[in-house]
Amino acid sequence: MPERDRFRVAALGRALTLTLATTAACGGGGDETAGGKVSLTLGYYAEVGGPADGMMRKLVDQFTKANPGIEVKIESADYDQFYKRLRTQLAGGQAPDVWLSDGVLVQEFSGRNSLRDLTEYASDINPADYYGIDIIKKGDPRGRLFGFPQGAQSTALFYNKAIFAKAGVEPPTADWTYDDLLAAAKKLTQDTNGDGKTDIYGFRAYSPSFVESWWPMVKAFGGDVLADDGRVAIDSPQSRDALTWMNRAMHEEKAAPDPVTTEALGKSQILFPSGIVAMQFGIYARIQTSAQGKIDMGVVPLPKGPDGHRGDLANINSWVVNRASSEPKAAAAWKWIKFFAGQGPQAEWMSTGEAIPINKKVAQTPAFLTPGTPPTDRKPFIDALTTADDIGLSPVWSEYTAAITKHVTGALSKQTGIEDALKSAQTDAQAVVDRFKPAG
C-alpha cells in the first residue's frame, strides 16, 4: 500500500511537470489553416469602442481584403485587462500569434523565450525608413529584433500659451537650460485669487509616470538609470544633482507641486490639461488629454542639463510575434506588421493622435508636423525621437523600475534623504536584475 502511494505521487509529479512544460511549448491555437486560409490571432490594447479601436479594426479589414489568404481573429481589451489576460494565455500556450506590446515589455517577453526573432523577416525592408528599430535592437543583449515598431512616443516640454501670455513670460525655447526652466516656473507660479494658496504652478516636476519626470532629468544631469552593460546605475552624483534640483523646485521654490500636493490637486496627468501647471514634460500621447482640457499648448525640446544633454527618452510600441506560432502564421503576422508600417496605414493611425508615426515618410508630412491644432509645431517630438535613448529596457523592467520608483518617490516626498534613497534604489534594483537568469 505505501509502495503504491509513493508510486502514485511520483507519477502525479511527473504528469504535472509534463503538463506545465508542454503548455509552454505548444501554442498559438490549433488550426493552421481554416478552409485553406491562414488564421491569425491578433491581440492589441485600446479603449473598447474608442477611436483607436475603431481604426485598428478598419485597418484589419483593409489588410484581410488585400490578403484573401489570411483570416484575422481580433483579441482586444483595454491596456490593463489585455496584459492580465495575455500573461495567463502565455502560461497556457494560448497567446495570440501577433500582439501589440508596450515597448518597455518587449524584452520581458523575449527574455523568457516567448517571442520570435524577427531579424530574418526584417531583411526585406529598409530599416532606415522607420523610427525605433535601433532602440528595439538595443534592448536585446545580442542585438536581435524581437519586435517591430507600431507607434512611437518621445518626450518634449509642453507649455500652456495662455498662462505664459497672462504672466508676461517669454515662451520656452530649444535653448533653455534647467536654470531657465526654474526661473520661468517661479515667475509663472501664482496665487490668482489671493487666498494664500498657489493656484497655478510653473511646472510639473513630479509624476508617477517617471518617463515624464525624474528619469529624463537624471539623464539630463549626466546620470543614468540602467547602464548599457545592464547594471543599475542610479546611485550617482549626477542623479543626486537631478533630484536635488527637483526638490528645490518643489519644496523650496514651490514652483512645482510636491507629490502630496500633486495628489491633492488631482492626479499628475490632469495638472496640465486642467491648467494648474504651466509646463510639463510629456510624451506625445499627452496631446490628447491636453486637447480635451481645451489647452492651447506649444511644445519645445526638453531643456538642457549642465553638459547640454536633454535626456530624451523614447518608447517604441511594437508588434511582436509568438514564438510558438507556426511558420505560416508567423509569415502572415509579418505581412500584417509590414502592412501596418506602410504609409497608408501609418497615416490613418496617426489621425487617432495616439502615437508618432514610425514610418519616416509619414512623420515628415505637414499633416503630422504642422497639423493646425495645438501644438502646431510637432517637430520637437521627431527631433527627440532621433536622438533619444531607450527607457532602460530589460527582461525585468517592470520589477526593477518599481524598486527604484519606490525609493526615489520617498526622496521627492522628503520622507528619506536623497543619498539614502539612491543607495537603496541601487541595491534593490540591482538585486532584481541579478536574480534574473536568461532562458536557454
Binding site: 502525479l12 509529479g13 504535472l16 511537470t17 506545465l20 512544460a21 509552454a24 511549448a25 492580465k84 500573461r87 495567463t88 502565455l90 502560461a91 520581458e108 517577453f109 523568457r112 523565450n113 516567448s114 508617477p208 507629490p259 502630496v260 495628489e263 491633492a264 490637486l265 488631482g266 525585468v396 517592470s398 520589477e399 519606490k406 518617490t409 520617498g410 537568469k437 532562458a439 536557454g440
Partner: protein, 290 residues
C-alpha cells in the same frame, strides 16, 4: 434502509462537491505546491529549486510589508463590518413605512461590482473633487489625500469595504434575528430591561452563531481582497496598500515569478487557516447555539 445504502445516498448527494475537490481544489493545490519549489516563470518550463522561494520569502521586506498592510486592513475592516452590520440589522428589523425601499438602499453598494465602486468611491474620496473633503471642510478640518495618502489609504479602503459589504452581512444578521422568540424581549421588558440591556442580554447572544459566520467570512474576504485593492489603489501610494494577495499577483503575473508567487500563496493560505482555526476554537467559548 441499510447503513451502506444510506452512505451511498449521502455520497451521491455530496458528489458535486467531490468533483469540486478533485478539479477545483486538489489539482490547483497540487500544481501550486509543486510550483512553489520551482522557478516557474509562466512561460518556460519549471526547474526544481528546492526551498529557495521560501528562504527568499523570509528575507523579503516587501513581503513582510504586505503582511503588515493585510493585518492592518483586517483589523480595521472585520470588527467595524461586524458591529455595524448587527446594529443596522437591529435598526432595520422593524415594521416601518418604506422599509423595503430603505433596505434596498443598503444593498445598492453590495450589488455593485468593484469596478463600479471604484468610480463611485472616487466621487467621495477624490482629494480634489470628492465630497469627503467638502464635509471635512464644514468642520474646519484640512482636506485629506485619502487613497493617495500612505497613512490613510488602508483606513479608506477599509471604510469603502465596510460601506460596500455591510448591507450583505446585515441580511445575514436579519436572518439570525428572525429566529429570536419575541417572548424573550417581552419578558425582559416586563422585568424593566431597557433597549440597550435587551440588546446585550438577548440579541447579542442569540445571534452569536451568525456573528461567528460573519467574522469568518469577513476575515477570509479581507485576506483575499484583491479586486478592491487592485482597482482602487493598485498597492499605492508607494507600497502603502500592497496587501499580500496583490503582492502575490504582481510577483506571479507582472514579474513572471509564478514559483515565488506560489510560495507566497502558501504562506497566505497558512495564515488564513490558522486564523480560522483560532476563530473556530474561540467560538466554543462565546457562541451559543440555540
Amino acid at each position: 434502509m441499510t447503513k451502506v445504502a444510506e452512505r451511498l445516498w449521502a455520497s451521491l448527494f455530496a458528489s458535486p462537491y467531490l468533483a469540486h475537490l478533485v478539479l477545483l481544489t486538489a489539482w490547483p493545490v497540487l500544481a501550486l505546491s509543486y510550483l512553489s519549489f520551482t522557478d516557474y516563470d509562466t512561460v518556460s518550463s519549471p526547474n526544481w529549486i528546492g526551498l529557495d522561494n521560501y528562504t527568499r520569502l523570509l528575507k523579503d521586506e516587501n513581503f513582510w510589508n504586505s503582511l503588515l498592510n493585510t493585518g492592518l486592513f483586517a483589523l480595521m475592516y472585520v470588527p467595524a463590518q461586524t458591529i455595524l452590520a448587527l446594529v443596522l440589522a437591529v435598526g432595520l428589523n422593524q415594521r416601518l413605512r418604506f422599509m423595503p425601499l430603505l433596505r434596498g438602499a443598503y444593498f445598492v453598494p453590495v450589488v455593485s461590482s468593484w469596478v463600479v465602486i471604484a468610480y463611485v468611491a472616487d466621487a467621495v474620496f477624490n482629494p480634489r473633487t470628492g465630497s469627503a473633503n467638502t464635509v471635512l471642510g464644514w468642520f474646519g478640518v484640512d482636506p485629506q489625500n485619502w487613497l493617495e495618502s500612505p497613512a490613510l489609504v488602508i483606513p479608506t479602503l477599509a471604510l469603502v469595504a465596510v460601506w460596500k459589504g455591510v448591507g450583505y452581512m446585515m441580511v445575514l444578521f436579519l436572518a439570525g434575528l428572525q429566529s429570536i422568540p419575541k417572548e424573550l424581549y417581552e419578558a425582559a421588558e416586563v422585568d424593566g430591561a431597557g433597549p440597550v440591556r435587551r440588546f446585550w442580554n438577548i440579541t447579542v447572544p442569540a445571534v452569536s452563531g451568525t456573528t461567528f459566520l460573519v467574522l469568518v467570512l469577513s476575515t477570509i474576504s479581507v485576506l483575499q481582497a484583491f479586486e478592491q485593492v487592485y482597482v482602487m489603489a493598485g498597492g499605492g501610494p508607494g507600497d502603502a496598500s500592497e496587501v499580500t494577495v496583490l503582492y502575490m499577483y504582481r510577483q506571479g503575473f507582472e514579474y513572471f515569478q509564478m514559483g515565488y508567487a506560489a510560495a507566497v500563496a502558501w504562506v497566505l493560505f497558512g495564515i488564513t487557516l490558522v486564523l480560522t482555526l483560532v476563530q473556530l476554537w474561540l467560538q466554543r467559548k462565546w457562541v451559543h447555539y440555540a
